[in-house]
């Protein structure tokens, strides 16, 4: 199982949140060879494009080809995301809300597979809610981040989820934690994620400095996300057969 999933995941790059593994493609080659030999179209999950009435993108996994961002400031956090969910080259939802509340003062920014991130967010919301009731206190952002890490790391072979956990608690104020694909956990003052984040690392490095005010953070986030979305739009135009969107 590990070997086959490694083969599947070989198209993933580990560092940024770029996605597009085609999960259901194991064992395709043998069937396709047999089908070609028999001159018979093959159906089921692994459908050949040539003989297919139902186009490829209807069976593709839905991914949030995304740009997400979170910035700490004194007294809280600013989070932002674009609103596009794609299946292949088709935009399945152009008004997606990728900023999901986990608790009253804790949010998560989702990137990667829409199904995986929604499922993980639901599980963590339940776990954190339960924990908070037990504690009789608002939960810590670090707790939420560790819950995400626990799920993302344990099932790292099966999941494609890049998540930014951001929120405010009384103990440490505004915090941003990054849980990328693979299940690492690290706290950062500012973090970007998703396949569009590659375009704005330079912008972030040169424009972010510690000690920004809330309004400055809002402006920075808006500017960075607009840049990333513009760049991703042009990339899609140029390379329509590309895996990232």
């Amino acid at each position: 199982m590990k070997a086959s999933s490694r083969l599947l995941n070989s198209s993933l790059s580990k560092l940024d949140g770029s996605i597009h593994e085609q999960r259901m493609r194991s064992g395709t080659t043998l069937r396709e060879k047999m089908a070609a030999a028999a001159m018979v179209p093959i159906f089921g999950q692994n459908v050949s494009d040539k003989y297919d009435l139902v186009p490829d993108w209807t069976s593709r996994e839905v991914s949030t080809g995304t740009t997400i961002m979170a910035v700490e400031y004194d007294g809280g956090v600013v989070i932002g995301a674009d609103s596009r969910t794609t299946t292949g080259a088709y935009i399945a939802n152009r008004v997606t809300d990728k900023l999901t509340p986990i608790h009253d003062r804790i949010f998560c920014c989702r990137s990667g597979s829409a199904a995986d991130t929604q499922a993980i967010a639901d599980v963590v919301t339940y776990q954190l809610g339960f924990h908070s009731i037990e504690l009789d206190e608002p939960p810590l952002v670090e707790t939420a981040a560790n819950l995400f890490k626990a799920s993302c790391y344990r099932y790292r072979e099966e999941l494609t989820a890049g998540i930014l956990v951001a929120g405010w608690d009384r103990r440490k104020g505004g915090q941003v934690y990054c849980v990328p694909i693979g299940g690492m956990l690290v706290r950062q003052p500012v973090s970007v994620g998703g396949s569009g984040s590659s375009y704005i690392y330079g912008f972030m490095d040169s424009n972010y400095k510690p000690g920004l005010s809330k309004d400055q953070c809002l402006e920075l986030t808006a500017a960075a996300l607009s840049l990333a979305m513009e760049r991703r739009r042009l990339q899609w135009r140029r390379g329509q057969t590309g895996k990232h969107l």
Binding site: P41, L53, P55, T58, T85, N93, V95, A119, V123
Partner: protein, 286 residues
């Protein structure tokens, strides 16, 4: 502090995710093995019948309008010219299904059954969000191997709700959704003419036009247009709402009058049949 709760976390994680993933892993192993064995012998597994489909839904002022075409395809052949793609979930919730026909049928039936038990347990009319949760958790558990892409719509105590549910288990809550192979054609119509808070007739016309766009521009969709209008306290299941593709009537006839062909000779041979054996077997119908 973290160490204190690590025990509880791991328990919770194990409980929830084990139920989520345990079945997944066993199924992946088992099915892959079966397919491998079948291929070794030289057989290929039977093709799943897909509903190359156009389904859509829209929220209007008083409720939801769901629409679907009625063609089910098996590869390049139309397997069913008039299949029903709008499935019953509960008295106030209906679900259109695209993808593998068996998967949509069975999934909606399972969730309908569970939802009825749930409603009896709570003593309340079921909510669309509940149906959505049940469907997405089941589809996620099967990691996309259940090829069911659904448009779930209904009216409950919190108003009308419309969800699109993808085979891998992601859902979107939107005012208008389309799914299936004809979804692009239908979405084009929606993006052009959708307005919030439409009247019922406008909404029905919009959905009808969207499905018609799918039927006429997509090879996987065809035949008639079914509609389902759900409002608070009333469901209008209109099947068919519009027979967009009526089968033509033959203008000619191959029957000829007696005497058209002249008879030259006629010979009649009676065959003598005799009863050899007669037995009576009574059937126990008690």
């Amino acid at each position: 502090c973290l160490r204190l709760f690590s025990g509880i976390w791991s328990q919770l994680c194990k409980c929830l995710f084990k139920s989520l993933f345990f079945l997944t892993i066993t199924f992946i192993f088992r099915n892959a093995l079966l397919e491998g064995e079948a291929n070794k012998v030289g057989c290929s597994l039977p093709a799943a019948r897909k509903t190359g489909t156009t389904i859509c839904g829209v929220v209007f002022k008083d409720g939801i309008v769901l629409g679907a075409d009625t063609r089910a395809t098996e590869g390049m052949i139309v397997a069913d010219k008039n299949c029903s793609k709008i499935h019953y979930i509960s008295p106030n919730i209906y679900c259109c299904g695209a993808g593998t026909a068996a998967d949509t049928e069975m999934t909606t039936q399972i969730i309908s059954s569970n939802l009825e038990l749930h409603a009896l347990s709570t003593g309340r009319l079921p909510r669309v969000a509940t149906a959505n949760r049940m469907l997405k958790q089941m589809l996620f558990r099967y990691q996309g191997y259940i090829g069911a892409a659904l448009v779930l719509g209904g009216v409950d105590c919190n108003g009308p709700h419309l969800y699109s549910i993808y085979p891998h288990g992601s859902t979107d809550k939107l005012p208008y959704v389309t799914m299936g192979s004809g979804s692009l054609a239908a979405m084009a119509v929606f993006e052009d003419r959708y307005k919030p808070d439409m009247e019922e007739e406008d909404a029905k016309r919009l959905v009808r036009d969207a499905i018609a766009a799918g039927i006429f521009n997509d090879l996987g969709s065809g035949s008639n247009i079914d509609l389902c209008v759900i409002t608070k306290g009333k469901v209008d299941y209109i099947r068919p709402h519009d027979e967009a593709n009526k089968k033509g009537v033959r203008t000619g006839d191959y029957k000829y009058k007696r005497g058209t062909t002249g008879v030259l000779t006629k010979a009649v041979t009676p065959l003598a049949l005799e009863v050899v054996e007669e037995t009576v077997q009574t059937m126990d119908t008690s």
